[in-house]
Symmetry: C2
Subunit: 213 residues, 2 copies
């Protein structure tokens, strides 16, 4: 069989052989993909962590909010450590009654220079997050920049892990921010590290509306 | 001065010293951040590339669409290589007259098993992309999964580079998909590589509405 195939192949033009290899490769790819999909048959809420120094951690959480709204889901968003400037996503998602949107930070920590105020703001934001993580009507919870609050120990890691692990079974939660703690990565289902290859500000371009703002 | 500072420090409690170091570190961080922002003073459209094997490449492009809509910008989206299943972001963003939304793929290539049909679909999608990249009224263009079409040479790389480099000066363009070609990375302003740390399907969880769909 193998010999016959080889002798057949030798009668084909180079282009036909390439085409055969292409089809064989595509067929194999489809088989692998189909097998993976067949194996993945659980249906439940997932915990996602977006970390790393690159751009896209918060943006992709907000892309998921758009996806969820496309399925008429209820969404809760808490932005930690932000709030010093108004952002496009806030202006946009506040238009939708399906979205509960909380911005409780007081600007980035290096802007406030006031540790007590930062801790108070983070604690308040975390209390709000716990309510969302207890609410069965909310299908997607975004805890934007929570990792920063965890890094500075403004929010207790064990409390976060407990609340995430005891959330409603079909609820998705996305936690963003650089420097995600290992214990959070351990309990998450999907973890992406956004790595910066290059960034426009390195070329002197300031933050742009619709991109960063 | 340095000696005096040292002798002063020795009179402080450990907690006060920690607090001093904290404030000094935060102050320095703020200085560095402020300097970077001061240097970055150019205002123009940027080209972003989201690549890598991790989750979040398309989601973060759609997060930027939400941001842009928050600023009342006009947006154009072309989805390459997709289209076999309806997604939440499509259902959502089609609600907005500010968004031109085109889905021109015929499912992933390994689903179609038909190279000629894939090329025809990609070519049609690229023609639409060129129109958006020529339109001064469009502030943000998303070319979703274009990198896949480039990888299979369904779309010509040099044509893409030419169209991206000659787009309106204030227009942002986001190109997503794994395996971004180096020549595209070279001309981009911001490039992020999404790296998979882990993914829910590895634990047997299928694609979830609001997360992947």
């Amino acid at each position: 069989m193998s010999d016959k195939h080889l002798s057949d192949s030798s009668e084909l033009t180079e282009e036909q052989q390439r085409e055969e290899r292409y089809l064989a490769r595509m067929k194999r790819k489809k088989e692998i993909i189909d097998q993976s999909i067949a194996r993945a048959d659980q249906d439940r809420g997932v915990c996602l962590v977006h970390t790393g120094n690159g751009k896209g951690k918060s943006s992709s959480a907000f892309g998921m909010v758009a996806r969820a709204l496309g399925h008429d889901m209820q969404v809760g968003v808490v932005q930690f450590i932000k709030g010093a400037f108004s952002t496009g996503e806030e202006a946009f998602f506040r238009r939708f009654p399906e979205v509960q949107y909380y911005v409780m930070g007081e600007g980035f920590t290096w802007e406030t220079q006031d540790k007590e105020r930062d801790i108070a703001a983070a604690t308040k934001a975390w209390k709000q997050s716990e309510k969302l993580l207890n609410d069965e009507n909310i299908t997607l919870v975004v805890l934007d920049e929570l990792n920063i609050a965890l890094k500075y120990k403004y929010v207790d890691l064990q409390q976060v892990i407990k609340a995430v692990e005891s959330r409603p079974v079909n609820q998705h939660v996305v936690i963003t921010g650089r420097g995600a703690p290992q214990a959070l990565i351990d309990i998450a289902d999907t973890v992406t590290e956004m790595q910066v290859v290059k960034h426009a500000y390195q070329a002197g371009i300031k933050a742009q509306k619709g991109v960063e703002l």
